[in-house]
């Protein structure tokens, strides 16, 4: 029996060798890690949506990741790694991709995961009626077909080198064909997936409990028997619970709290540079933001380095009004825009506002630093003649009433796996969340060309042009990127912060020596 296990693990590892290593679970660590136990994870923003194709928040992504599997999953280096698909290959111009599925994956109802389920899931995801967030991020998929029971073929409308990575998008989960074509709504209450865990209990706003899926397709995983996800109404409460040992892990720590929590005994602070950013979204179709000079003036009214200090408490890097920073492959640097309120004032006057401009900036109450950024911006932009009044609101009202609808508000976005993904999520005319309504055809063309270009140096050029264009035209003010901050008890092993900010890998986590017995 043991022998069989070892050899089978061996096989799996050779099958997905580079992937497994890049993901950070070498067979050695897997042996050293102890199985069993209950991990308690603290969250600030409660998961609400259970349907894996409709999730929007990091906490929802985490739950979906535990209960469902995708075709591929995102490695720490932003490359595609095996999940349900073990291998993939493309034709020469990257328009046709063949993914080979593992044969030992089953849904929690016992049915095997086959190519029919994958095809039905992607049909559902790409159906505009499903309104799946980020469905445009999956790439220019024209057709998904089954090739036997355990292989699928993706055809794209244009060459698309990033397809395996784009299929890692958090909403791209595989569900049973019967559900995708039938009672899709039932997923809002009853999860049915092939992930490493299964749902035991879910009460919105309070807690969710999942337990080990004994039939999970990766041998020896998950290591934990149970994960309890506990929601705290505010960051201070979550921090206190972490310090008191009521939770073993806190996935998000506020910058203001980080030093204190990380310094506490028995707790390890986690910090990873990331492309996560806060931006000030301006609707480029309405007054006064339809005048690029007004947007440029606002961009000149921000002291970016001071913003990092005051809003991110130094745990971040300045931004230059493009959504890319050093964490991305095709980042092209430029000197940070300098703080020039006098120049901004002159520009405002030129745009027809010699007496300044009164604006109302909406900021959701979560996370705390959204309103901090609004207040800091108000103060920094005051000498330039901007009179910005800040309006805070609770997160659910913000999502309902302001997000994608308002003309001036603070947005908050995770890093994306690829440059194309972040541009197509937020800034192109056809973006899923085209909140700035910038709709610049020249920019769209750059991104579209880059999407279909396979040559890296050419792509770098195209993306550099796109970044320069955003710096000049400022569809959104992006003054500050945030490092990911978290905390874990010293006895938690195997957790790696993912710079993308929405992958967690809790099935690789275990409790080591010193963990309280529960």
């Amino acid at each position: 029996m043991t022998k069989f296990n070892v050899s089978r693990r061996h096989l799996l590892l050779t099958g997905a060798a580079s992937g497994a290593l890049a993901l950070g679970f070498s067979p050695k660590i897997a042996h050293a890690q102890m199985a069993g136990g209950t991990l308690r994870v603290g969250l600030n923003i409660t998961p609400v949506v259970l349907n894996p194709m409709l999730t929007r928040l990091n906490s929802e992504y985490m739950l979906a990741e535990m209960l469902y599997s995708g075709l591929t999953t995102l490695g720490l280096d932003m490359s595609a790694q095996p999940d349900l698909a073990t291998e993939w290959s493309a034709n020469d111009d990257a328009t046709e991709w063949r993914f080979i599925l593992r044969e030992n994956a089953t849904f929690s109802n016992g049915e095997p995961v086959t190519s029919a389920d994958v095809v039905a899931s992607f049909k559902k995801l790409l159906d505009p009626e499903t309104a799946a967030p980020g469905s445009r991020n999956l790439g220019p998929i024209a057709e998904v077909t089954a090739d036997g029971d355990f292989a699928v073929i993706f055809r794209t409308e244009s060459p698309y080198a990033d397809l395996p990575v784009s299929l890692c998008y958090p909403t791209a989960k595989v569900i049973p064909a019967a559900i995708a074509e039938g009672d899709f709504e039932s997923l809002a209450q009853t999860p049915l997936g092939s992930g490493p865990f299964r749902m035991v209990e879910f009460s919105a706003d309070q807690r969710a409990v999942v337990e080990k899926n004994p039939d999970y397709f990766l041998d020896g995983q998950p290591l934990l028997d149970r994960v309890e996800i506990i929601t705290f109404p505010d960051a201070a409460g979550a921090g206190a619970a972490m310090l008191a040992g009521e939770i073993d892990m806190l996935l998000e720590v506020q910058p203001t709290d980080f030093a204190r929590i990380a310094d506490a005994s028995g707790i390890t602070g986690l910090r990873t540079p990331s492309g996560r950013f806060l931006d000030v979204v301006m609707d480029c179709t309405v007054e006064p933001f339809n005048d690029p000079r007004v947007r440029a003036a606002l961009a000149m009214s921000v002291d970016r380095e001071a913003m990092v200090e005051l809003v991110a408490e130094g745990y971040g890097t300045p931004g230059n009004d493009s959504p890319l920073n050093e964490a991305y492959r095709f980042y092209s640097g430029a000197p940070y825009k300098s703080y020039d309120p006098e120049g901004a004032k002159a520009l405002l006057a030129e745009a027809g506002y010699p007496d300044g401009l009164s604006l109302e900036l909406v900021a959701s109450a979560k996370p705390d630093y959204r309103s901090a950024m609004a207040v800091v911006l108000r103060e920094m932009a005051r000498p330039a003649g901007f009179d910005i009044s800040v309006k805070t609101m609770d997160h659910s009202s913000y999502l309902d009433q302001v997000w994608k609808k308002g003309s001036f508000y603070v947005g908050f976005y995770n890093m994306q796996p690829t440059e194309g993904a972040i541009f197509n999520l937020l800034f192109t005319s056809g973006a899923s969340w085209n909140e700035t309504r910038w709709n610049n055809p020249e920019f769209d063309a750059l991104i579209e060309t880059a999407d279909r270009t396979i040559d890296d140096s050419k792509r770098a050029e195209l993306y550099a042009d796109a970044q320069a264009m955003m710096r000049d035209e400022v569809p959104a003010l992006i003054p500050c990127f945030f490092d990911l901050l978290g905390a874990q008890a010293d006895y938690v092993e195997g957790y790696k912060q993912h710079p993308r900010g929405s992958n967690y890998g809790l099935h690789m986590v275990s409790l080591g020596e010193g963990a309280p017995a529960r």
């Binding site: 505010d234 201070a236 203001t256 207040v375 609101m393």
Partner: protein, 280 residues
Amino acid sequence: MRKLFAILGALMRNPQGALGLVLFLLLLALVVLGPVLAPADPESFNYGARFAAPSLEFPLGTDWYGRDLLSRVMSGARSTVLLALLATGIGTVAGALIGVLSGYLGGGADEVVMRLNDAVMAIPGLLFALMIIAVLGSSSINAVIAIGIAQTPGMARVARSVTLQVRALDYVSAARARGEPTSWIVLAEILPNTIAPIIVEATIRVAFAVMTLATLSFLGLGAQPPSPEWGLMIAEARSHLFRSPWPIIVPGAAIALVAVTFNLLGDGLRDVLNPRSGGH
């Protein structure tokens, strides 16, 4: 006018009242002159002096943006105290009118009004204010209206019970015998004679209004940042509590002081205005 001075004189002879009155006058000065007297702009940042402890430059220290806390508290007095007074004013006027009218009319009308009143009173004040804000939207002025409405039923009860005593007195019967209209009797005969207990009640309620207003701002439903409203100052300071206590202590102490002031003043006024408590 002479009567007012007599009341003030009596108040000064009452230890609680005297202290309350002095504090109240100081507070009033702060409300009127605070923003002018504040040594610094309450919203301007001092990057170099974040979380400063009290010093000569910053007598009460600074907050996380290096804003001068003394200036913020002084500027915030106007919005905090004035809005609380306004809210209490709304609650008092509306409550007194409903209570006096209901008490004077008596009978079936009184029953209907008071049972409705009781039904509203059964909802806790803060919850009621939250409901009203949910309908009106969150802003300072809506918070004031919400607290005013939430205070009305309690005030109506007090006014009615006083009216029931006054209604039976001879001068009311005389006015009725003269054939005076109801509005005249209510406004000219009954209301002035019920005013003392209502003022006492209102004074004490100001303290509650300050705290409720601070609570609503704390919940993000009243004043909006970066306003130096005291409740909001505390709410915002919470995430920085462990780096410096001053941003919470200063507005917290200010709220406590206002609550104490109005309670002392209310106690003093009760002693002075109550004809049965003797002394004059």
